[in-house]
Amino acid sequence: MTNILTTHNLTKTIQGVEIISNVNMSIRKGEIYGFLGPNGAGKTTIMKMVMNLMKPTDGEIEIFGQKVTPSSYDILKRMGSMIEYPIFYEKLTAKENLELHCEYMGFHHKKEIPLVLEKVKLHEAMNKVVKNFSLGMKQRLGIARAIITKPELLILDEPINGLDPVGIKEIRDLFIGLNQDYGITMLISSHILKEIEQIADTIGVIHKGKLTSENSMEKIQSQYTDYIEIATNSQKKACFVLEDKLQITNYKVVEDKYIRIFDTHTPLSVVSKTLILNNIEIESIYQKQASLEEYFFDHV
């Protein structure tokens, strides 16, 4: 699969402080790229550089096979974005804001406006001025603005911020639909790891301006498999029982109290029953669901 966006040693220095250092990331065409990182890690700065709002101090960005320069305006026609807080002309209505956007983008299918507003469930507020919108409504309108032109590459910074659980699900389904139906490539940053986990194909983690990891979701899931964790004071004895009675060898001893069993074929109930029948005291036993959260914390 070809890359739609690549950065080569991307670096940004502001007032002598290097806030982005040698970032090499690549986003493949048609994928959803989850961009994770703590506050102030540099996600928004990278997104701004991708949108040509900020200029790199060093290194370069390549989008659609073209090197981005300060005068790369053509590529912006093929991109949609929502960066930081959703910003609008507050005195204008939702519809007027989208009309303006379409004019500036050179997109003349005005019939799309009510349709896209319906997609983000804002059609009833179409003729209301944005000033009176809640954060959630602004977020929806920002998403509508970013997707109305059916761009090839979508850059979304915290798109589900301020949405309620129902809204989050609706927007998640919308993103998946756009990705699958129109092949739109997306770079999405979010703090809500569970959400990213459900939609992303690739995860990039940024910490203190450095890309600390970039892996496919598949690989992460295979690395971070589920396991059963047992806490016991008779660690050695328990290991013997596991090997002798249950033929489990794929386990790991953690500290002097815990045992993690990665052989997920043996049910938890069987493990606990066997250990108890062999007089091993168990303080706790539970099935651990490996998540993106652990991967994230391992990389920041």
Partner: protein
């Protein structure tokens, strides 16, 4: 470019400017007639020695008003985009930043030119009409005088359109609304002073020089816009 200017007008909603300009027209015209009538009755002497002098004062008053109006336009069309951060939306469009700015400055310049000129003509017309009836100021209104005054009004209007860009420099420094407006008031004092001995208001070279400075400032503010981080 025309298309970009139309979009700017849609965003800025300039109804307030048109209404303000109409009110300013009426106020300046009223002030002039009342001022002259009042002084003549109270003091028994005319405030102006000639029709030419009356025209200088009319021109100075009109230009002072619309330089301040222009600074409000700069605030609404340029500074507010930074204050409200909508500039970061505007700069994600596939349009050169220079062109976007040129459209903005074009609106400010054209509006200031036309409104200054039209107001000047209107107030001059009201003054001449009243003067024809009440003879506040002695002197004949000849075709020559009208042509000369007309040309001077056009020159001054062009000069003012250029001068009106100067507050942009101060406003853009810190994206500040007060800096923009206060600098325009300062310019008004600089170019509009008039007394019978020294009349800066009648020297067209002053606003013309400031106009060149203003246009240069507009150029400088656009020149680096492509490379600036938003």
């Amino acid at each position: 470019m025309w298309q970009l200017m139309k979009l700017e007008l849609r965003k800025a909603k300039l109804g307030w400017y048109i209404r303000g300009a109409i009110i300013a027209n009426l106020l300046i015209a009223c002030f002039f007639v009342v001022f002259m009538g009042f002084i003549e009755t109270m003091e028994g002497e005319v405030p102006f020695t000639s029709i030419d002098e009356a025209f200088i004062v009319i021109g100075a008053l009109v230009r002072a008003t619309f330089i301040i109006f222009a600074s409000v336009l700069i605030v609404r069309i340029i500074i507010d985009e930074y204050k409200n951060k909508t500039i970061s939306i505007l700069f994600t469009y596939p349009i050169q930043r220079k062109k976007i700015f040129a459209a903005k400055l074009g609106i400010i310049g054209f509006l200031t030119f036309f409104v200054t000129l039209l107001t000047n003509i209107f107030v001059a017309f009201v003054f001449l009409a009243f003067n024809a009836k009440y003879h506040f100021v002695q002197g004949d209104v000849t075709l020559d005088l009208l042509v000369n005054q007309g040309l001077s009004m056009i020159t001054f209007a062009i000069a003012i359109a250029g001068t009106s860009f100067i507050p942009l420099y101060f406003g853009m420094k810190k994206k500040s609304v007060p800096a923009t407006i206060i600098s325009s008031i300062f310019i008004v004092f600089l170019i509009s002073s008039h007394n019978p001995v020294v009349s800066i208001a009648s020297i067209v070279y002053i606003p013309l020089t400031l106009a060149i400075i203003g246009v240069y400032i507009a150029y400088v503010s656009i020149r680096n816009i492509e490379k600036v981080d938003v």
